[in-house]
């Protein structure tokens, strides 16, 4: 098992590494505040002062991309973590105990999966008001189902493994069986699902912000910066192109990492 031989994983990690660098250390290289407006230079094209130009209010686009990236990626990562926690816990217990509660919860999962996610998130955010914590929670609440399903099916096959049966026969406690013998063996698909859900959540959040329902002004996210480019996408290319590529590349990065991990774990490979 050589990581270097796995191109998707390596490329994905490099992409995410550079985007993380950009987002974390970016502010060291710009002298503007993300909110400082200067209407006099509204929509000016890239120059030495403003490497990526300015938006309608004359704010520096590069600076806003950096801070917007923190928000976009932050929302994605936190939502994904919450979703994974919910999904793992539910999947673990329904899978292990089975029976009627499992039936009810899995039917509920079916219902949740039938919601067009963007639709319903938009509904709640639109009616309830948008804030970054609200976005994180609402997106997370509509993203845990896949993970619950994956964990459940893993647990259901693991609980019939002979080593779990032996542990039960020796009187191991349920907690020990669940958290020491079953959970660690489900971790691989969970990691893949987490990385994949980060990438889909980036897309959901940017879509919402693009519609004006996600991250609210004066804060920016990559999606809301694209919203400003709606009128003339190619004319104000400094608004549309960099933000779009940042979203594209972070999603590609996470997708590649997920692909790479899947490939790495493929039993056929060894």
């Amino acid at each position: 098992m050589k990581i270097s031989a796995n191109h998707p994983l390596a490329i994905g990690c490099i992409i995410i590494f550079f985007i993380a660098l950009f987002v974390i250390f970016g502010p060291l290289f710009t002298s503007y505040s993300q909110h400082s407006q200067n209407l006099a230079i509204s929509l000016s094209s890239p120059s030495i002062q403003h490497p990526l130009g300015t938006d309608y209010y004359g704010r520096d686009v590069l600076t806003r991309l950096i801070y917007g990236g923190r928000i976009s990626l932050g929302i994605a990562v936190f939502s994904a973590i919450i979703a994974v926690l919910i999904g793992t816990v539910l999947g673990l217990f329904t899978g292990y105990y089975g029976g009627f509660p499992d039936l009810i919860i899995m039917r509920f999962v079916d219902v949740m999966l039938a919601f067009p996610r963007l639709f319903i998130v938009l509904l709640i955010i639109g009616l309830g008001g948008s804030s970054i914590p609200a976005l994180i929670w609402v997106i997370a609440l509509f993203s845990w189902m896949e993970i619950a399903r994956i964990v459940r099916s893993e647990v259901m096959s693991l609980k019939n493994r002979t080593y779990v049966k032996s542990a039960r026969a020796q009187g191991f406690s349920v907690n020990r069986i669940l958290f020491r013998h079953i959970l660690p063996n489900t971790i691989n698909p969970v990691i893949v699902a987490t990385v994949l859900s980060i990438s889909t959540i980036i897309l959901v959040e940017s879509g919402l912000s693009f519609l004006g329902l996600g991250v609210q002004p004066p804060n920016a996210s990559w999606g809301s910066i694209l919203n400003d480019a709606k009128i003339d996408p190619l004319g104000t290319w400094w608004l549309s192109v960099p933000a779009g590529f940042l979203i594209l590349f972070s999603v590609i990065g996470f997708n590649l990492i997920a692909d790479g991990i899947t490939e790495e774990l493929d039993p056929r490979k060894n």
Binding site: R161, T162, Y163, S166, R168, A169, Q170
Partner: protein, 266 residues
């Protein structure tokens, strides 16, 4: 509990019926499938009682019921004259260490994430055995200490099955449930394991309940054999009697098969 009256069965199964329900979409549409119907037998201390039947005949379900993994629909399972099925969960837990299983599927019998030493240590701790060291334990099953630092996937089938047997011995069981202990092993290894089991039974004063489809090999170990098909037991005899005077046509076919293969060689 320590009384070892030869005439009192250590395990007595009576009228056991196990029935699996498949839930499809709702609780209304369960489909039932009887795996075991009205099965009774008694196992006496020091016995090696074997249930022989082809795969899918329900023999593993009986073991699962004794271990408390499946709830039978009907019947009773008496262990030392206590009904395991009616007792409270807490009380059942007290009996757990006394009945230990060894399964066929040794590939999955050891948690792949732990080293052998960790697997055995964990069992020792949970069963609070302090009177035996890991080295002594694996010597009992004929392995050397060099094996302890390996992961399960690095071991051969026979070695894994030996570790599984060692682990089953940790809670000081009275009764060992062996589910096809050797049928996935190659014959050279299988015979070694059978030998080990035979020695262990004498040395540790164990009772075996054995389940298999391989009559010739079972003959080496069992002193009573029950023949099972489609959920029913229809013939139960001491081993030699069974081979000499098989009654039921199915038993006769099974025994003949074993004998035919003998003749073809001699």
């Amino acid at each position: 509990m320590e009384q070892k009256d030869k005439n009192r069965p250590i395990l007595s199964v009576s009228n056991l019926t196990i029935d699996y329900a498949f839930y499809r979409v709702g609780p209304f549409s369960a489909q039932h499938h009887a795996a075991v119907e009205n099965v009774s037998f008694k196992v006496y201390p020091g016995d090696c009682f074997a249930i022989v039947g082809e795969s899918g005949c329900g023999k593993t379900s009986i073991l699962n019921a004794i271990l408390g993994f499946v709830r039978p629909k009907n019947g009773a399972i008496f262990y030392n004259e206590q009904n395991l099925l009616t007792m409270a969960r807490r009380e059942f837990r007290l009996y757990r260490p006394e009945i230990q299983p060894v399964f066929q599927d040794f590939h999955n019998a050891l948690n792949p994430r732990f080293r052998i030493i960790e697997i055995l240590k964990e069992s020792l701790r949970i069963c609070s055995r302090k009177d035996i060291s890991i080295e002594e334990l694996i010597a009992v099953v004929g392995l050397g200490t060099d094996i302890l630092n390996y992961f399960p996937h690095q071991l051969s089938g026979g070695q894994k099955q030996r570790i599984v047997i060692a682990r089953a011995l940790i809670p000081k069981p009275q009764l060992l449930l062996l589910d096809e202990p050797v049928s996935s092993l190659d014959i050279t290894v299988a015979v070694q394991i059978i030998k080990l089991l035979k020695n262990l039974r004498k040395k540790e004063n164990l009772t075996f309940l054995l389940v298999s489809h391989n009559l010739p090999i079972i003959r080496l170990l069992a002193n009573r054999i029950a023949i099972m098909k489609n959920g029913h037991i229809f013939e139960e005899k001491p081993t030699e009697d069974l081979f000499e005077t098989p009654e039921h046509p199915y038993t006769r076919a099974l025994v003949n098969q074993a004998l035919i293969s003998c003749q073809s060689y001699q």
